[in-house]
């Protein structure tokens, strides 16, 4: 045996569950997972790595779409495999019978519980929807394909 410099895999998973606070953190109301939401953004918007929180600027609008988006189904806790921590929402993101006439190509996943702080932005080919449905199906929740991975 020998010592090996590494970021502990357990830490990677625990970051996703908010176990560690290496800086000033927030007082949490309980031990449950936060409520996450997903909002769609116009192709003309500029969501990305610099996004810090959900905002209405650049968000899609149209019939049957509620500003702020939808609540993310989160029934599967973050976990680890190999040396990767990962997490994936446990259901697709779905909008039903919406009309989104202006092209959109991104979804922002954000933390509704923690002042709408941003988590991730995912892009896809530009879409419009006319009196129809739009869904984003999640990748397989494993260390290779999960939506969020810390490798």
């Amino acid at each position: 045996m020998a010592n090996a410099q590494a970021m502990c895999t357990s830490f990677k998973g625990e970051i996703l569950s908010g176990i560690h606070a290496l800086g000033t953190t927030v007082i949490r109301a309980g031990t449950g997972a936060d409520t996450l939401k997903a909002a769609l953004y116009l192709a003309s918007s500029s969501q990305g790595a610099a996004t810090t929180a959900y905002g209405v600027s650049g968000e899609v609008s149209g019939a049957n779409y509620s500003a702020g988006g939808i609540t993310v189904t989160n029934a599967t806790a973050p976990t680890t495999s190999g040396t990767t921590g990962y997490w994936t929402p446990s259901a697709s993101f779905s909008w039903t019978n919406v009309t989104l006439a202006t092209a959109f190509d991104a979804v922002l996943v954000y933390n509704s519980t923690q002042s709408n702080k941003a988590i991730s932005v995912h892009t896809f080919g530009s879409q419009t929807i006319t009196a129809g449905n739009f869904s984003l199906t999640m990748p397989t929740n494993d260390s290779t394909n999960a939506l969020l991975r810390i490798a």
Partner: protein, 55 residues
């Protein structure tokens, strides 16, 4: 509405990032329905690194 009057168009797109299908219905050359379903393929990855003391 008489469904036989509707013209249906379908399409698909796939790259490293997504696998998408869409369906459209037209009535008198007017788009009256469009749905799309995107399967995300590319995960969001953050690579980690730790610093050492020996150089």
């Amino acid at each position: 509405m008489d469904d036989s009057l509707l013209i249906k168009k379908e399409g698909a797109f796939e790259d490293n990032n997504e696998n998408t299908i869409w369906i459209e219905y037209y009535l008198d050359n007017q788009l009256v329905h469009r749905s799309a379903h995107v399967r995300l393929k590319r995960p969001m990855v953050s690579l980690t690194e730790v610093g050492g003391f020996n150089g």
